[in-house]
Each structure stands twice: as C-alpha cells, then as structure tokens.
C-alpha cells in the first residue's frame, strides 16, 4: 500500500499530448512535484479502462464473501457450536471441512463466522474512514496550528504499534460486542488514511480551481464538499479498503489471543480454539487452514480492489501491454519499432 505517486499522474497519452501544449510551465507557475493528483474522476473513458482484470477479480472475490456473510448462517449445515460425536474428523461427506476437537462442524463455523468477521471489518473501516476524513481533510483545508496538531496526532497513532496498544486497551475493556471491537480497532486504524487525505487536501487546496471557486463566491463548506471531496474519492475508497483489511487482520489477531468474546463465532475465534486445542500438533490442518485461507482471500480481494483504485489514481501503475522484445526494448529505454505502417515510399519528391 505505497503512497500514491509523486508527480501529477495522467494518462500516458494525455501526458505526451499535453506535454506538447505550449511546452510546460511558464515562469512563476511552479508545479509542485511533491503532490499527487488523481486523474480526472469525471472521465468516462478512463473509468471504463479502470475496470481492469484485478479490479473485477477483487469485486468477484469480495462479492462471494459478502454473499457468504449474508446467507452463511442460513445455509450452514450444523449449529457451529453443536458438539458432535466425530471428534477431529478429517473432511468427509458429512463434514466437508472436517470437525474440531469437540466435534463441531468446521464448515458451519466458517459460514457463520463470516458475518461477524465482515461486520467488524466493515464497521471499523467506516468509523476509521470517517475519522480520517474529518481529521485529514479538515487539517489540510484549515492549515496552520490546527493542522500541525492534527497531523502530529495522526503521526503518533501511525507509529505506535497497533496490536500491543489494542491488547492493552481490550484488556481493560470488558469483552464487548462487534461494535466495541470495531470501535477500538478503528481507533488505531484511522491514522494512515488521515495522513494521505491530508496530503491530498493540502495539494488540492492550492489548486487554481479552489481559489477560483472562492472568487466565484463559494462558501467554505461548499468548497470542501463539492470541490475537494470529489477529488479525494479515490483516495477515500483506497483508505477504506485498506482499513477494512487492517481491521480484519487485527481482529483475527485479537481473537487469536482470546481478547474478544470467544463464544461468538468469527474466523479469528476459530483460530483461537484451534490453537488452544493444539490442532497443529494433532495434524488437524482442516481446522486452522480454512479460516486463515478465508482471511487471506478476503484480504486479496480487498487488495486487488485497492490496486484498481491505485491504478485509477495513478494510471502509470497499470501493466504494460507490450510483450517480448518490444517490452525488453522499452524497459531498456529504447522505443520499440513495430512496423505496422507501410514502409516509406518514394513519394512527393
């Protein structure tokens, strides 16, 4: 999740075409090389191309998991907490993903646990994104001392290791429901988004169209909502996806440590029980592999979606379409010669 590019990012073709335009900056029109500029979000042409394979794959993966969270508890073959007679049974037709050390059905736990896992992730993502938008955009827009303090705050939260802090925090808090867990996670997860949003707002604030809007009589709130926010949409989305991923990984970690209510099924809780029952030494891979794999897959889905957004923000990140020798030439700094046009004829001489 690298930060976005340094220099204004535009479509490569546009870059070249625009580069021809009166040859660059005029004295005094200093371009700020340290800010990133999202590609015009309003371009339908671009939007179509942004639907890259990665983005679609991410959407499909996430769609499947959302479906799982929605109908999982309904289609689960067993009550996930029901103790069965088959203890530590490997996958079979009765239990597609085998059973736990107490005979519970792993598949049912996985299906039921999806909902809790996703709810906490999305909830934490929403809360954190809200916090980071408020703090980041406000700081960037207002500037001055307030901005200094707000960005110091987010930098502190960024550096302090989240997990140990969360462990201490949840240790003092009585075991709460998903909302409490989500709230605590978002407390440590907002800083990244806030930092990126602030940087972006700071660069947008200096753009001509913001000053032009002021001159056109627009009030401050309208400038934030209608002029700035549309331009941070992509970053907002990216920050949200990143935070959801962070929240899912963190809650799985917390659950693994037994710091959440371990009677409510989630993938982290499954791993907690698997670890407590020493599933590893028992060779019960079907117990700890599925929940971890599910987390990894959902994370991959989020990351793929994030790629799509990143490439939207910075189109240069897209994969190159050249292959073979042409790609090699171009990587070496030699424009490939692909003779598609007819050879020059002896004309007009």
């Amino acid at each position: 999740m690298a930060e976005t590019s340094d220099r204004p990012a535009t479509d490569a073709v546009d870059d070249v075409l625009a580069g021809d335009r009166v040859g660059g900056p005029v004295p005094g029109a200093a371009a700020d090389p340290l800010v990133s500029e999202p590609a015009d979000p309003g371009r339908p042409r671009r939007r179509r191309r942004t639907m890259s394979g990665k983005f679609v794959a991410g959407l499909v993966i996430l769609g499947l998991f959302v479906l799982m969270a929605a109908i999982g508890p309904l289609v689960a073959p067993y009550d996930p907490s029901n103790l069965g007679p088959d203890v530590l049974a490997p996958p079979s037709w009765q239990h597609w993903l085998g059973t736990t050390g107490t005979g519970q059905d792993v598949l049912s736990q996985l299906l039921v646990g999806a909902r809790q896992t996703l709810i906490i992730g999305v909830l934490a993502g929403l809360i954190a994104t809200a916090i980071s938008t408020i703090i980041g955009v406000t700081g960037g827009f207002v500037g001055g001392i307030a901005d200094d303090l707000l960005s110091l705050l987010s930098n502190v939260f960024l550096v302090v290791p989240a997990l140990p802090l969360l462990i201490v925090l949840t240790g003092y808090l009585p075991n709460g429901g998903p909302v409490a867990v989500a709230a605590v996670i978002s407390l440590t997860g907002w800083a990244w988004g806030s930092r990126v949003l602030r940087a972006q707002t700071l660069s947008i604030r200096r753009r001509d169209y913001i000053e032009a809007a002021r001159v056109a009589g627009e009030p401050g709130w309208r400038i934030i909502v209608f002029e700035i926010l549309p331009h941070v949409r992509a970053i907002l989305a990216s920050s949200f996806l990143f935070t959801v991923l962070f929240a899912i990984l963190t809650q799985v970690g917390l659950a693994f440590l037994g710091l959440v209510d371990v009677s409510q099924w989630s993938w982290g809780v499954m791993l907690y029980w698997a670890q407590s029952a020493d599933a590893l030494n028992a060779g019960a891979w079907w117990w700890f592999v599925p929940p971890g794999l599910a987390v990894a897959l959902i994370g991959t889905g989020l990351a793929l979606l994030n790629f799509g957004v990143d490439e939207f923000i910075n189109p240069r990140l897209r994969s190159n379409s050249l292959r073979g020798r042409a790609a090699r030439d171009s990587a070496g700094g030699f424009t490939p010669v692909v003779r598609t046009d007819p050879q020059p004829s002896e004309v007009q001489r």
Binding site: V16, D20, G23, P33, S330, G333, T335, V337
Partner: protein
Amino acid sequence: MTISAGSIPVTTRPRAGDPVLEVRGLSASYGLGPDAVRAVVDVDLTLRRGEILGIAGESGSGKSTLAYAITRLLRPPGVITAGEVVFRPADRPGGGMDLLSAGPAELRAIRWSEIAVVFQSAMHALNPVLTVERQLLDVLAAHRRSMSRQARQARVREMVEMVGISPSRLKSYPHELSGGMRQRVMIAMGLILEPQIVLMDEPTTALDVVTQRQILQQILELRERLGFSVVFITHDLSLLIEIADTIAIMYAGRLVERAPSAFLFHAPRHPYTRGLLASFPSLHGDREKLVGIPGSPVDLRHVPSGCAFRTRCPHEMPRCATDRPPLALPVGDPPSADREVACWLHDGRQPPPPSLARPAPAARPEYATAGTSTIRDTRAEQERS
C-alpha cells in the same frame, strides 16, 4: 590549421552542409491497434552539419514526439511504426546507420556521444539525489572509459566554465541551483562529449525572458565554436526565426512547411505558418489588430480528413477535404529555394492568395560553417593524445 593526422582522410572530411541526420517516412504512435494515436506521420527531414533546424508546432503537432522518436527515447506506450532515421557520422563517410534498426548496444554507444538531448525542464531532467558533478562524470564514465579520473574531472570543470558556471557549484545538488543554472548544466552535459547532433526540446521555455536570451546566446556561441548541429523544438516561432537556419512547421503530426527561416518569415507559403506568424504581436510599429488562427488546435484523436488544417483555414477548397496535399516545392518558387509546403494552394492550378505568394528575400541565408572543422580537429587531437 594543421592537417589532421587522425583517422579521417582530409579529402573525404565531411563539409558543413552535408546531411548528418536523415529522417525518412518516420511515423510514431501512442499505443497499437485501432485505439492508437498517430502522433507523427510520415515525416521526412534532413539535418545538415552545423545547422540549426527548428521544429515549430502547437499542442498535438507531434513535434516533441518526433524528436524523441528520432532518438528512440519515446516512452511507452509510444511506438515507432515506420520509417528510417539515418545517422551519418562524420568519421564514417558515405555509410550511415539506421537508428531504428540498431540494437541496444549500438544505440547506447551513439547516445550522447553523437546525439545528445537537452530536455525541456532541467528541474526534472536532473537526478535530484546526485550532485551535478556526479551526473556529468556519469557521461564520461559511460563513454570515455579510457579517460583517467583526473582527466574526466578536468573535462567536467572545463565544460561548466564554458557555460558560465563556477566549478565551485559542481558539488551542488540540482535543487540548490536556479532554473537558469540547471539549464546551463544540462547544456554542458549535452556538449561534454562533443556530439554531432544536439536535440533541444523547448530548452528555454520555463525560463524568464532574460535568462532565455542568455542561454540562447550561449547555444549559438557554442555552436560556432564546436560546430554541432541542433534540432531545436519549440512552440515559439518568433524565437525560432531569430536563431534557426531552417524551420519545419508541424501540424497534426505531419510537416506542413519547411523552409530557410528568412524565407519562412518573410514569405510563408502555408496558411498555418502565416497564421502562426500573425499570432505574435510585434515590438515595433503600429498596433494593428491581429487575429491569430480561428478554431482550436487539432486533437490527434480526431484528425480531419484530407488536409488536417482545412477546418481552420481561410482558404479552404473542396479538394482539401478529400485529398491530402503532398509536401512539395511550391509552384512559383525556384528549386534553389530549398523549401517545401503541403498545401493545394501552391500546386499551380490556381494563383495563391497574395498573402501566401510574397517573393522571398533575394539571398539565401547561410548558416554558420566555421565550427565544423574545429570539432573534428579537437577530436583528432584528443585521439592523438
């Protein structure tokens, strides 16, 4: 003048005015397939020794694309789709090499040592994390392996002094220099290997007028001294007329006119050239109302059929929409004028409008020839030492 004892026989030593670079039928696109944008189409150009060839055009004219395609420095998704770029090195008389079919190793050897590029924005063209000296030495390290360390450093000092920078600034990083100084460093870097060709892509556009003028003067002086040829790309035709020997005007990826600069200025043949010339307010005389050119510069994604300029042209004729005019000697001009225009007004079927039929000035301007032998001599001396 001593007769060179170098490898070049005196009799076949290339003279000023011989072609050093010939571009034939060059086409370049962004992307491949149906969505490709054709930025340069079928361009023929000849650069002669010691000459300053100006290429002028607006956005979407393809002038920068042309320059980068010649050196094969066009970035992805840029692709060269047709043509030849024949470089005729002075020390290989008769034979030329096609840069478009050359391999990476050959190209790398020619780059900078024979064809150097001065980029538009020195701010972005210099590596921010290396000192200026390091970046100059880099060139020598890559191309002058046999040179000693001291010799390289001495050469770097000599070059920066030549462009008017104190060698004490060599340890500076690019961000510590002013815009004008950075551009001078770029020029010093471009000339350090005494290349035969220097491509300059808007080298002064980002600078203030006074600095711009100083740098132009410097380029002209250095050319006198070193005898290299220059391809000078700019949108500023008025500037080009002052410094270039020959000017090529591009529109929608094609050449529309090419002529010695005095001819082009006093007697333009293409309506676009004339329109461009009328777009620069004068510093002298009466204030007349000027109109520029109606319409918008062409969008390379939607180039009009036939003559691409016809939609903005005051003299449009029916055939302009169907047939693309070839680049040819305007009927009425003598072949000695060495000029070409791509416009149906000059095919002899009708008298061209008076504004496009002015007689050219009598004498054909000569470009500087003095430096050409000088550069060869210094080369030869270097080889001997």
